[in-house]
Symmetry: C2
Subunit: 324 residues, 2 copies
DNA sequence: TTGTACGCGTTATCAC
DNA sequence: GTGATAACGCGTACAA
């Protein structure tokens, strides 16, 4: 920066200003500086800038998995407005383990992010303490709670379980099963789903859990297990559209008709859900809005604009197509 | 750090050493310091550390798309060893536009990453200059070239096109079509595929291009267009497994038998490919190894270990299953 | 509108 | 094994 200043015949301060507050520098001076920057290929050092200004222009994003497309989509929609506002995203993958999250968060906070985006509302105590101590805007997502760390944007997992059970019960279904990943939020939905059914006198819900990630293969395996156990005439509530697609495929391979012999409900309404054959009935989660509103809330905080709603419940929608 | 030092009764220097070179500090002193850090919840400032040491412990990763799972997977495998070596990943999404890449790279370089991971080997001149000027280890991926910026780990797009055409020609196919995303690397494969067929006297290859991203829906649309135009008895070469899955679904919906009436070849061998019905014939790309070797190469450079192979061609494999 | 002087929190160097 | 000191490259209050 010093050399740029010299070449432009100004003080370093002026170069800094030309970059960060262009309106506070005379047109002519600014032009001269930009030209020198072009020629020299000067790249500002944001490490130094961040240290001096106490603003890193970095937003930390914590997700369970980079390869789970539903999180990737949320982040994409989150990152766009952030990028436009001049922030970069530092992404951390954390698995579904609370202790791992704690470590990652410590590592990430040492970069002094200006704000942080969290997936889920369950964190270890240590984690909560660190987060609060960082004293930066925080948005928690993919769930809701009356007591967020700062702001929460999501939907109620319990409500999904309950309303889905109610909805399909009223549609006339009396036999139910669950295919689910071993994921905290899915577990909440399942518990609520089963509880709701139990209240209606339906106690034996067959459950097939797949470990870790959701993919087509695991969906097929889980379904195969249920079918081998003699499951029929049931509605299978899946923890993701991907698993549901696997269940659908396995049914097809075995000549089991959907929705005549077996009904299937996915979760997420990913972009392929409307285009499987038959088209997948599912629970729509508005991931784009979740990302957008999260960004919005953080940007308000960062710009010292009052955030009126600290708890944003996006809700969800049961989308009936052809599999149930 | 200063307060930690005071509480532990040492100089700040010693705290820094205890953190970064623990072996250079007496056991007892170290224990005292770690204890104080626990109590106070001190979080080091990597911005300041980076500025002082000229090492950010940050690796920049540039990908076309966060939601394209094949890139996400590569990065996941890349990030793991990097994380274990104490580096964090700063991710940048760039679309398929060269100019956008240039801007993003400038933004990312201002964080002073210790190394950079690039997708593809085609960059604007400005971009190459900036990259070279940064004077850090660079790995380019998803393609090969005899003249990498630094290191390249990938496979030849042309070879994929050629060998796939040869292979299925020899299997007896004489009619071909292409379903492809509007993606630079896919375009290279397609050109090579068509050129190889042309050399065998096969000139009219029906092509259906989908804009931007690959998903099941677009695969179905592209296939629908081809089927509407009367395509039959052909082998459809797709630019991704996802598109191929869409083509497969559209065939199914229309009662077109696969592989009797139409054959389908995907690209990537994603984890669902073996589990579609019928199972997808495809071209396997070893994304895990690509990520791993990229990390390995960068770590060698970062540790001043000689990198013998600057061009690593991973190759690929045609995996014959049931759709062709 | 521009420049001066200082400090941000850490690490490298050198001395002890 | 430990401490003092000087950078690292920039932003900002204040002065001009």
């Amino acid at each position: 920066m010093e050399s740029v200043a010299k070449l432009a015949g100004v003080a370093p301060t002026t170069v800094s200003r030309a970059l960060n507050h262009p309106d506070k520098v005379a047109q002519k001076t600014r032009d001269r500086i930009t030209q020198v920057i072009q020629q020299t290929g000067y790249v500002p050092n944001l490490l130094a800038g961040g240290l001096a200004s106490n603003k890193s222009r970095l937003i930390a994003v914590i997700v369970p998995s980079l390869v789970n497309i539903v999180y990737a989509e949320t982040i994409q929609h989150f990152a766009k407005p952030m990028k436009e506002a001049g922030y970069q995203v530092l992404q951390g993958e954390v698995g579904y383990d609370l202790e791992e999250e704690e470590k990652l968060i410590a590592a990430v906070l040492s970069r002094r992010p200006d704000a942080i985006f969290l997936t889920g509302i369950h964190h270890s105590n240590n984690c909560r303490r660190q987060l609060l101590a960082a004293n930066i805007p925080i948005v928690e997502t993919w769930d809701v709670t009356p007591t967020p760390l700062d702001i929460v944007v999501g939907f109620s997992q319990e409500a999904v379980g309950k309303q889905t059970a109610d909805f399909f019960y009223e549609k006339g279904y009396r036999k139910f099963a669950i295919v689910s990943a071993e994921d905290h939020r899915a577990t909440l939905r399942n518990a609520s789903f089963k509880k709701t059914l139990a209240a209606k006198g339906i106690e034996n819900v067959a459950v097939s859990i797949v470990p870790g990630i959701s993919n087509l293969e695991l969906g097929r395996h889980a379904a195969a297990k249920l079918f081998d156990e003699g499951l029929h005439d049931s509605l299978i509530f899946c923890s993701s559209d991907t698993l549901a697609h696997g269940v659908l495929t396995e049914a097809q391979v075995r000549g089991i008709s959907v929705p005549e012999d077996i009904s299937i409900v996915g979760f997420g309404d990913q972009n392929f859900a409307a285009f499987t054959y038959p088209a997948l009935t599912t629970v729509r989660i508005d991931r784009a809005t979740m990302g957008r509103l999260s960004a919005n809330a953080l940007l308000c905080r960062l710009n010292n604009v009052d955030v009126t709603e600290k708890v944003i419940d996006l809700g969800f929608e049961i989308v009936v197509r052809d599999t149930a």
